[in-house]
Point group: none
Chain length 160, copies 2
């Protein structure tokens, strides 16, 4: 199961290169040692929210959704946000994230700015964030979503 490692790579490739088709993306992935089929790509792109739009030069290109975690969030650096998160706990369909004291608000803003569909909103205290999922979003979808926003998150927390 290499989906978890594949998605971030796909996002990165789309962000950095001009990808015009699944076939092209497939080649780029292979060059990075990841191989899958067009069908899988189609599903991955759908999950990421990436779409194909005219590139204005007579062709087409894939783009990441607005405020994707990759579309550089001014003022926030992934590597700085990540280590402040201590713990993630499910509670009544909601998600409670604990951070270092005083860091909850910043982390929450970071999460909000990704404008992920799965997340209805967040509320931050001093060291705790409540993440409220939209109706119909499963617990697992929510975790996958968080993993997209902050790659390596769960991995890191497990390590603690």
């Amino acid at each position: 199961m290499q989906k978890t490692k594949r998605l971030p790579v796909i996002e990165k490739i789309i962000a950095e290169e001009n990808i015009s088709s699944h076939a092209m993306l497939l080649r780029r992935l292979k060059a990075k040692g990841i191989s899958c089929t067009q069908a899988t790509l189609s599903r991955d792109l759908k999950q990421i929210g990436a779409g194909r739009v005219p590139d204005g030069k007579g062709g087409y290109k894939y783009t990441l959704p607005e405020n994707s975690s990759n579309s550089a969030q001014p003022g926030y650096n992934k590597l700085q946000v990540l280590p402040v998160i201590l713990d993630i706990v499910d509670a009544k369909g909601l998600l409670v994230i604990r951070t270092l004291p005083g860091n909850a608000n910043n982390a929450a803003i970071y999460i909000d700015n990704t404008s992920r569909y799965e997340i209805a909103g967040t509320i931050a205290g001093d060291d705790t964030i409540l993440v409220i999922p939209r109706d119909g979003i499963t617990n697992h979808q929510l975790h996958t979503c968080l993993e997209l926003i902050l790659p390596g998150l769960h991995e890191q927390i497990k390590r603690k």
Copy 2:
């Protein structure tokens, strides 16, 4: 040659409705008295810059490019009492209201002060308010209530 009249109509339809395929757009156009083939649509959409992206709900939808006419100047005269409110989302029978950073508390106080029966209470973070309805209050009643407190609210938010 009706391209000149067709393009604006296509833009408008895409801006206002959720179009998921050429076939669907074709039907909408026909309903407006414009008829053409899928091939023409494909070319039109390319020229407009419209692309097909995942809608986050398991399907796809067409979107206009960033600075397209619809995302243009929001009429100033339409600004409401609390232009700090960005978004309202239903979640698990609760209501999540997102505001500009730092404005949640003020907005929440404003809502509290109306002492509406429908609202049991509110919790405000920095940019998010959780509105908790009384037991027995339907989702629809809650929205109607909010609309009473802040006339034109939903209308404004739809306009994004």
